[in-house]
Amino acid sequence: MCALAHYFEEAGIATATIVLVREHAERMRPPRALWVPFELGRPIASPNDAPFQRRVLTAALERLLVADRPGTIVDFPEEDPRRRPDGLWAPPVMVETDHLRGSSHAALAKCFLAEVVRLKPYHEQVLAQSGRTTVGLVGCPVPALADYVASFLTGDAPTGLVGNMSAALALRFAADDLKAYYLESALATGGRPSSRQLVNWFWDSTWGGAALLAARAMALASNDDRLRRIGERFLVPRARVPSGERAD
């Protein structure tokens, strides 16, 4: 972003850059920067909180009015109110952590597929209420995506799902789509869950999270270089990789 700000400004277009990692802006000094104290992925923060988002935008755009020295970074003073967990939020499905451990891959695949079906009415509810889903990178229906991931768990050689997309890429983007399906479904029960509540639920308390962790393990053991790379970096966030495997 900071580099793009430089390129655009050099070409004669003024920029106002929202900055999440202050250290980067300090090094690259975009012309006008607003550092926001929000988590990665949430530059405007607080979903469906129009007044808060408007304050963020106004603070960023007002940087365009100021004729101070280029490279100044201003700090937004408010924390994201959605960082706080919602004690009243309850997930649509819940699996005890102990039940997730020790399952055979065949059993895991079966439970995962059943869970995807259980979530369908929740996802449909969210879609009806919001008019929107972010599922669609692969372009296949969710059951097909779930079948694809399940096939990895049962050791069946998966074939490419879409045109000339390789098995590795198909796994990678199917995982993204399935995560979106789960996390969108989790909004059906109402409340204002924090991102941490949502991702903790997915990775710790669903067959879906367990399935992706197992798919990662299988990808890492694969003879396919591309599949191993996908398993290493693109299925499971670093913070969720089992601690024994993490570099830190």
């Binding site: 655009f8 104290p37 469906n48 129009a50 935008l57 009015l65 280029p70 979106a180 966030p237």
Partner: protein, 153 residues
């Protein structure tokens, strides 16, 4: 905040040591009052229209998002899985604040919202983006844009 200390040590190290290019110049464009400005959003979130080609690692390209696009037709296709997507999944304005910008235009805070907005995919060497950034500049100018809001992830 993204205080680096909130992240795992590996993530901290990765972000702390990320290669950030330096620049010899400090361009600074002055312009009209904010209430007269035409604003576009450019994001590094790897957003794309439903059906667009997916971003690959190191991709210096961009996707074009028409201002009247339906929110359900905007997907997030960034290659990294290490940032939160639940905010965007709940409300596209968390990354692509088009509804908020339209409200600001309606209220006279800004002049207008551009007809087109753009997304790059931020896990790319910025030095590889100079040509595609130049393309976007020409598109922005053709659209009459005189100010860009840049949103990272």
């Amino acid at each position: 905040m993204v205080r680096l200390t909130d992240l795992t040590p590996t993530q901290q190290e990765h972000l702390r040591t990320l290669d950030c290019p330096g620049f010899d110049t400090r361009p600074f464009v002055r312009g009209r009052a904010l209430k007269a400005r035409r604003i576009a959003v450019v994001t590094s979130a790897g957003l794309l229209k439903r059906g667009d080609p997916l971003f690959r690692g190191g991709d210096p390209g961009y996707r074009i998002l028409p201002t009247d696009i339906s929110p359900t037709n905007v997907l997030i296709g960034h290659i990294s899985v290490n940032f939160d997507r639940t905010g965007f999944q709940e409300d596209w304005n968390v990354v692509l604040p088009l509804d908020r910008l339209r409200e600001l235009a309606h209220d006279g805070v800004i002049g207008s919202v551009a007809d087109w907005h753009y997304s790059f995919m931020g896990a790319t060497d910025p030095r590889a983006m100079t040509a595609t950034a130049a393309e976007v500049v020409e598109r922005l100018k053709h659209d009459g844009v005189d100010a860009v809001l840049l949103t990272p992830v």
